[in-house]
């Protein structure tokens, strides 16, 4: 019996993976609450006539983020990732901790952020001094980045990863920390509340730092010549014909490509804005031309 079977009770047989949809109550409740909170914020803002900050595009973005994150956890991707392929598990992690979070925070940027929690909830929370101090601390850019780096590096140590695969509660904790770490760094990158903690160049630097951090992990997975995670290496059923090593390398590529898409898009948008600013300012100076 391999270690993965012990981890999550019954192993989903290969033949039933296609229909292995799950309904984890915590995930579904979290998705429903997020959607309800967004809906009330969106409606309240629209009622105030601010459709410019609460357009249908924002609703679509938020829905896409929540759907992506939820699907990653309830679809067959989850058992495939938990029981068969490291690459599928990596895909699940980058979807819930990066892509889904980025879409949701992008949808919330501007006034929607302040409307996301209804006043009866936001008011009392805002009056809790220690909570405010804590949030102020973790939302410092360097602290957010440090937490993100610690979470991603820590969970990917083979011992930690194998432990996660054999303890469901720890596995859930891992997913929660990925999402929270993702929220912290994407708040810095998108700055939905317009806190101005980082200038645009600082946000670009953070995106580069995040990509570099992810690249280190990707490189380790891609360039190692032996499987790093015994639990996946012990799985005899090889989905898609991927050997443990090929699966591990695919996991590295999944992370690299996903980051290229999300962080690359973020950097491209920020650079475009910087370039526009330079051109505009150059145009203001008499006789100047934007290079």
């Amino acid at each position: 019996m391999n270690a993965l079977l012990l981890a999550h009770g019954d192993l989903v047989p290969r033949s039933k993976l296609g229909s292995a949809w799950e309904t984890p109550p915590a995930v579904l409740a979290g998705a429903a609450i997020s959607l309800l909170l967004f809906a009330q914020a969106w409606i309240r803002l629209r009622r105030r006539g601010r459709t410019d900050h609460a357009g249908y595009d924002r609703a679509l973005l938020f829905l896409a983020g929540v759907t992506l994150g939820t699907l990653a956890l309830v679809s067959p991707l989850d058992p495939i990732g938990e029981e068969y392929l490291l690459s599928a598990h990596m895909l699940e992690h980058v979807l819930i901790g990066d892509a889904a979070v980025a879409l949701a925070i992008l949808a919330l940027r501007g006034p929607l952020t302040f409307f996301f929690l209804p006043s009866p909830i936001l008011g009392p929370l805002a009056r809790i001094g220690p909570l405010r101090s804590f949030l102020r601390f973790v939302l410092r850019p360097k602290v957010s980045f440090g937490i993100w780096a610690g979470v991603f590096a820590g969970w990917h140590f083979p011992r930690a990863y194998d432990y996660v695969l054999t303890h469901q509660a720890v596995h859930d904790l891992q997913h929660v920390t990925f999402v929270l770490a993702g929220v912290l760094v994407w708040i810095q990158l998108i700055d939905p509340a317009r806190r101005g903690e980082l200038r645009r160049s600082g946000r670009i630097a953070l995106a580069v730092a995040l990509f570099t951090g992810g690249q280190i992990l990707s490189d380790v997975l891609i360039f190692t010549f032996h499987p790093l995670y015994p639990a996946y290496a012990a799985q005899d059923e090889r989905l898609l014909g991927l050997s443990p090593l090929a699966d591990q390398r695919a996991a590295g590529i999944v992370m690299m490509v996903e980051q290229m898409i999300t962080l690359g898009t973020c950097v491209a948008i920020l650079l475009r804005a910087s370039q526009r600013d330079l051109v505009r300012r150059a145009g203001r100076r008499p006789g100047a031309s934007a290079a």
Partner: protein
């Protein structure tokens, strides 16, 4: 014919001659305007990388034994030497070269042209058919290396030189990012493949106990690691330059 000893020297005299010619031209330019020592040293290091990579035991191993070393040569002459050579030139020297290149150089040195040219050359040269042919024909190997040096210079020119046009820092960062993303797949293909791409190296005598497939995998790892380091370092440098630039413009704002 037996292969030469891996520690023996092999020469590509063309690149020795070109390095000497470049050094003489630089010396003549430096007599008119005294460049700071760091520029002279940087230029000399660039020349040394090109001449040394192609006229040393590295060339022997690359041309007779291992793809890994051939790829090391390629990154030395195409990724390391060109930025050093350009940085070694004074702005006036770069301006004179750009003027000498005229309209054609101004056109091809635009980021939107230089990047695709570099990518096409980078991938094209590493195609199995071309690579094997070059390894079996010394004149073609010279041409391959000449193209790598030339496209390396072309690629780095818009980033490091402000003539014929000064490219803004955000565009430079985007250019480097696009180059990184665009070029990463060759290294990955070499790293992942269990089948050697190049017949020449399959037939070559084995060195250091490396099979042809492992040699290729290590070559891919080298290429990826090197490009990650060079491109991410360059991106980081320009991001750090963007910060004060943004502060300056916003304080003027």
């Amino acid at each position: 014919m037996s292969s030469p000893s891996a520690s023996s020297f092999t020469f590509e005299p063309l690149f020795l001659a070109l390095a000497v010619a470049a050094a003489i031209l630089y010396w003549r330019g430096a007599r008119r305007e005294r460049p700071p020592r760091w520029r002279v040293a940087t230029f000399a290091l660039g020349l040394l990388l090109v001449a040394g990579a192609l006229n040393s035991p590295l060339e022997t191993i690359a041309a007779h034994y291992l793809l890994l070393i051939h790829l090391l040569q390629n990154v030395m002459i195409s990724d390391w030497a060109p930025p050093l050579l350009i940085l070694g030139l004074t702005p006036r020297m770069r301006g004179e070269l750009a003027r000498l290149g005229g309209g054609a150089f101004a056109w091809i040195a635009r980021p939107q042209i230089a990047l695709p040219v570099w990518l096409v050359a980078w991938y094209g040269i590493h195609l199995a058919g071309f690579y094997d042919f070059a390894l079996r024909n010394p004149w073609m190997l010279n041409l391959e290396h000449l193209v790598l040096v030339a496209v390396g210079l072309l690629f780095w020119w818009p980033i490091l030189a402000s003539q014929p046009r000064d490219v803004s820092v955000p565009v430079k960062i985007g250019y480097l990012g696009a180059a990184f993303v665009g070029s990463v797949f060759l290294g990955l293909a070499l790293t992942f493949s269990d089948t050697p791409f190049y017949d020449f190296y399959v037939a070559a005598p084995r060195l250091w106990g490396l099979s042809a497939a492992k040699d290729q995998n290590f070559g891919g790892i080298l290429m990826n690691a090197e490009q990650s380091a060079v491109f991410l370092a360059a991106i980081l440098y320009f991001v750090l330059r963007l910060i004060p630039e943004e502060e300056r413009t916003s304080s003027r704002g």
